[in-house]
Amino acid sequence: MSTFLPRLYLGLVGLFLSLPLIVVAGVSVNEKQTLAFPPQGFSLAWYGQIFTNSEWRNALLASVTLATVSAALALLIALPLTWFLWRRHAPWANIFQLLGIAPFTLPPVITALGMLTFWATTGFYGQPWTAAISHAIFFVTLPLVTLSLGFSSIDRSLVEAAATMGADDRTVFRTIVLPLILPYLVSGYAFAFVLSLNEYIVAYMTVGFTMETLPIKIFNALRYGYTPTMASVTILFVALAAVIFSLVARFGDLPKLLGAMANSEK
């Protein structure tokens, strides 16, 4: 009795979270181009479509490229910033931390519109690289948070020990700090990558008319009716996210990354 009710409750929430995905998974294996559940027949052809149909393939390629580049750029912004804030005592520099977190806290449409007005004003509106920069700024929060957490978990006496053993600042960074921060670097990249892959509005407002990322492609297709490829792409994305987050959990400490610290820093 005392474990049945909690399990039932967890199960119901789990059902709520998985129900739409189960239906979409079912729909994605329909044999014909119909929206039917339970599926009629069984076919994995719609998964093949993602890679064989040039429109879907291009969209996938665009999304993956965008996510790869923007997540890398986000890391390039977050790593030196968090390192500086950890290494130096400069309270005023926290303003940049705040600036990095703001785009993610505000409703996304605001960042999207800010980017749109900016790129329109500067005359670069529609260039593919503007989406990469926009996403990097939009998602810089994620590596900022994971890296701050990572740095705060490094015992500062390790750096002092390395210095007493003859290592200068650069050597310390290369031989001590970087190896210890690596798991946080990877998870920060993973978070930014997955979210960029799925992001719609910032991409739409910056390059929506010149380039189709997968979410844009799904939305555009949705307006003209239904194609089962949407369903297979959806399942592909869920699976991809699950795999990436599982890897993060496998090689890092997911509960800790999400704020469950054994010894709170505060």
Partner: protein, 284 residues
């Protein structure tokens, strides 16, 4: 290692690139948007430079008032539903074995990262006549005929709760994990049942966290822009939808910018409130 203030100019080196990127590509765009909100619409291009309050004056219309009212109402409804579901859920999750927690966290992150487009599509399928949940009800004899459940307010609300629930859980998670388990144990030794100790010890101990979470989920829900379009009727459109619509389809960037600035002010006010609630929580 003592953190020393930067001594030489070179010590600031690591700051240059991040500071430049954030300033050029966040501060300046933001400022541009504020500037544009005072500009005039130019049907031929994006806008023409001016300094007018017209865009803000349009807020005073009945239509805008309705949209704003509905946006706030929807976001509040989503926030309340999410917190009601998420608090017991997160509490149970935080008491589960570590491996179970990790599996759940991976699942929650996967759902959280899903594109709004995908969530909208998934729910529109689930609510559809041909492939939807009603088919299931028909097959077990609850209903005689499958029906479409969208577009409707219920569909928008359900999908938005779905979207915001993982976020709510992840916001609550740190506070609940750190909650001293001996608190409830103490309540149990004093004679409270598990349910009673949850309501008399856990909930009061988390009061400020819950308030802060409500506000954060409210802001999160305020940002939803596709679900009302995919699953609702035009009267279910929110401010976010309207901003997108004005900026892209009506080519009225100045008005969109003015609405965005307004939305920022609402959000900042709420963030301030969250910080205040958090401070009070720490002091208590």
């Amino acid at each position: 290692m003592r953190r020393e203030a930067p001594q030489k100019f070179a010590d600031y080196g690591p700051l240059f690139f991040p500071a430049a990127m954030l300033t050029v590509f966040f501060v300046i765009p933001f400022a541009t948007m504020i500037a544009v909100s005072f500009f005039k619409r130019d049907p031929a291009g994006f806008y023409s430079t001016a300094f007018v309050f017209d865009n803000y004056a349009r807020f005073l219309s009945l239509f805008f008032g309705k949209v704003l009212g509905f946006s706030l109402f929807l976001a509040i409804a989503v926030a309340i539903c999410c917190v009601l579901i998420a608090v017991p859920f997160t509490y149970l999750l935080s008491r589960a074995p570590r491996r179970t927690q990790v599996v759940w966290l991976v699942a929650l992150l996967s759902v959280l990262s899903l594109s709004e487009v995908i969530i909208g599509f998934a729910w529109s399928t689930l609510f559809s006549r041909t492939a939807g949940i009603t088919n299931l009800f028909v097959s077990i004899g609850l209903m005689s005929e499958a029906v479409a459940l969208n577009p409707s307010f219920g569909a928008v609300l359900t999908a938005m709760v779905y979207q915001a629930l993982p976020y709510t859980v992840l916001v609550l998670y740190p506070a609940l994990v750190r909650l001293d388990p001996t608190l409830t144990e103490a309540a149990r030794t004093l004679g409270a049942s598990p349910l009673k100790s949850f309501f008399t010890v856990v909930i009061p101990a988390l009061r400020n966290t819950i308030v802060a979470t409500l506000i954060m989920v409210f802001i999160f829900a305020l940002g939803s822009y596709l679900l009302p379009q995919i699953l609702g009727r035009p009267q279910h459109w929110t401010l976010s939808v309207l901003i997108t619509d004005q900026a892209i389809y009506q080519s009225n960037m100045p008005f969109a910018a003015a609405m965005a600035v307004f939305l920022v002010l609402v959000t900042l006010g709420l963030v301030g409130l969250t910080v205040y609630a958090g401070r009070k929580g720490e002091a208590a």
